[in-house]
Amino acid sequence: MDPQTLSPYLVQILNGLAFSMLLFLLAAGLSVIFGMMDFINLAHGSFYMLGAYLGFTAIQRLGSFWVAVVAVPILVAGLGFGLEMVLLRPLYKRGHLDQVLLTFGLAFVFADVVKWNWGADIRSVPQPPELTGALSLGVTVYPRYRGFVIVAGLLLAGVLWAIQARTRLGAIVRAGVADKEMVSGLGINVRLVFAAVFAFGAGLAALSGVIAAPFLSLAPGMDFEQLILSLIVVVVGGLGTLKGAFWGAIVVGLADTFGKIWAPDFSLLVIFAIMAVVLLLRPNGLFGRALA
């Protein structure tokens, strides 16, 4: 094929990948939280939404995207740490369903707080001046900001992988996913690790929100929408693994983008169909281990 007919596909593939990176940041936290604590955090999309809206305010007030990109995730991670300590910790002795239900309540609270504070209007965030304009890729041009999202996402995926595979902290987390009791038997403060993982996941979701803000618009409902997609990512990839979150995000991000082009009315259906097929063929997802 000559480059002229190829380039529209290239642009769409890149768009899909940019979206995949946002999903990956969300799904990574969701997946590791599930792996360690055995519950699905239904408020995870709320952290993403909070990140996006706080980013909107920070950029408006401080005028700098870069300050927002650093400060907002730290702020939301702190919030996640507090929530884990106050609300989730008392429930660890109970069934995991209680935690799922509690986070379902939290999701409603956050959705309404955001609506209360920022209103129901659709809002948009300007791109940082350093990243406006287009990037020349030879056969085609591509928005510089989306290029940045892809590169930043891949870099972060690399960093997360390195932390998980090469550091002591990563070893503790991996061990925690495999066998919590054994880890605490070795004298490690598992509760603190839980809180830290939860906070880190919340921070990653907020980071995804801040990064998403300049190219997706902000509106009520964005939390549930993204939560559903990242849940699909985690289930398609397999729960509890970073690798699963990454490849799941690529699959869902590309399916979403191409679904919207080829079957604009049924793009959501395409994604759910992919998920259903994956689960029917591999009940634990692409890279998941069997559930106990």
Binding site: F34, I40, L87, P90, L91, R94, L97, D98, L101, L102, F104, G105, L106, A107, F108, V109, F110, A111, D112, V113, K115, W116, F224, I228, L231, I232, V235, L239, D265, F266, L268, L269, F272, A273, M275, A276, L279, L280, P283, N284, L291
Partner: protein
């Protein structure tokens, strides 16, 4: 046994009597409508509890059956005939026919994967309701569903109190049937699957079939609730099939007390009455509902039925002393 039974039947009859005379005591159309809605969602919540509370299957897509039945009844009523028997049969049948394949596929998975599969399937139904505009009205919903005409008796259900009594009849019938199911050997095998599925299989039960039976029965009753809702509301929108509706009915089950049939009905009552009161005062209804829900999970895990049971036990103990 007999005294125990008498003790249980007494409050039950009193409640039924109270429900029957309610329209005379409170002629307010508003309250009759609220109570009608509570009874409809009571059937819906009881049906989900059959899965969550009895069989231990955490379905996060129960709105699919409610919605499909509501849409089917609405489409039949607006396009062909508003005969009650016809719309009712079509709606409930549609829910059952949907529950059969979706159940068969979902119960292959367990735990969180089951939850996700049911969620995924119900979101597919939502997508169909949202996009299939010529049939469902798409994002605008299906408007103008008439109150049905009951052909044989010539009864017109247009008036608020007649419709209330019709709903009450369906509710009581559903309760009696579900109670019989729960007390039957099939109902005991539901609980057996919840408690220890591999042991049930070892004893020789076909647990796949048991779970499928629970799923289809729950789907049929959710369908009944959906049909009643289409009559009641006169309007069906895609949000009735959306996953937040599944979540809301799950909240009713948990707040009311999973594993008891009447608990979820109380849960439905609390949620809907709270919604009616709070949303008439302030726009902050989701905030208050979320906070109430968090509170219930933290402090009253067994739900209203649990609180009721504990208070009753406490009162009896102190009465004896």
């Amino acid at each position: 046994m007999t005294s125990d039974r008498r003790r249980r039947i007494g409050p039950g009859l009193a409640t039924i009597a109270a429900l029957v005379i309610f329209p005379f005591v409170s002629p307010s159309i508003y309250f009759q409508n609220v109570l009608t809605e509570v009874l409809i969602f009571g059937i819906f919540a009881m049906s989900l509890d059959l899965l969550i509370g009895y069989t231990g299957l955490f379905s996060f897509g129960h709105a699919a059956f409610f919605g499909v039945a509501a849409y089917t009844a609405g489409i039949v009523a607006t396009r062909f005939s508003d005969n009650m028997l016809l719309t009712l049969a079509a709606g409930v049948l549609a829910a059952g026919l949907l529950a059969l394949p979706l159940g068969a596929l979902s119960i292959r998975s367990v735990g969180i994967y089951f939850l996700m599969l049911t969620l995924a399937f119900s979101q597919m139904v939502y997508a169909a309701a949202y996009k299939w505009t010529w049939l469902t009205g798409g994002p605008n919903g299906l408007a103008g569903v008439p109150r049905p005409v009951l052909g044989i008796l010539g009864l017109d259900l247009a008036s608020v109190s007649t419709f209330y009594y019709a709903t009450l009849t369906f509710f009581l019938a559903s309760y009696v049937v579900l109670r019989r199911i729960v007390a039957s050997p099939l109902g005991h095998s539901f609980v057996g699957v919840r408690e220890n599925e591999s042991r049930m299989r070892a004893i020789g039960y076909n647990t796949w079939l048991v779970k499928l039976a629970a799923f289809v029965i729950a789907g049929l009753f959710a369908g009944l609730a959906g049909v009643l809702f289409s009559y009641f509301n006169g309007f069906i929108s895609p949000s009735d099939v959306y996953w937040t509706t599944s979540g809301l009915v799950m909240v009713m089950v948990i707040i009311g007390g999973a594993g008891t049939l009447l608990g979820p009905v109380l849960g439905a009552g609390l949620v809907l009455i709270l919604q009616n009161i709070v949303s008439s005062q302030t726009d902050r209804w989701p905030l208050i509902m979320g906070a109430t829900f968090i509170l219930f999970v933290l402090v009253a895990r067994r739900g209203i039925a649990g609180i009721f049971h504990d208070t009753l036990a406490l009162a009896r103990r102190s009465a004896r002393v």
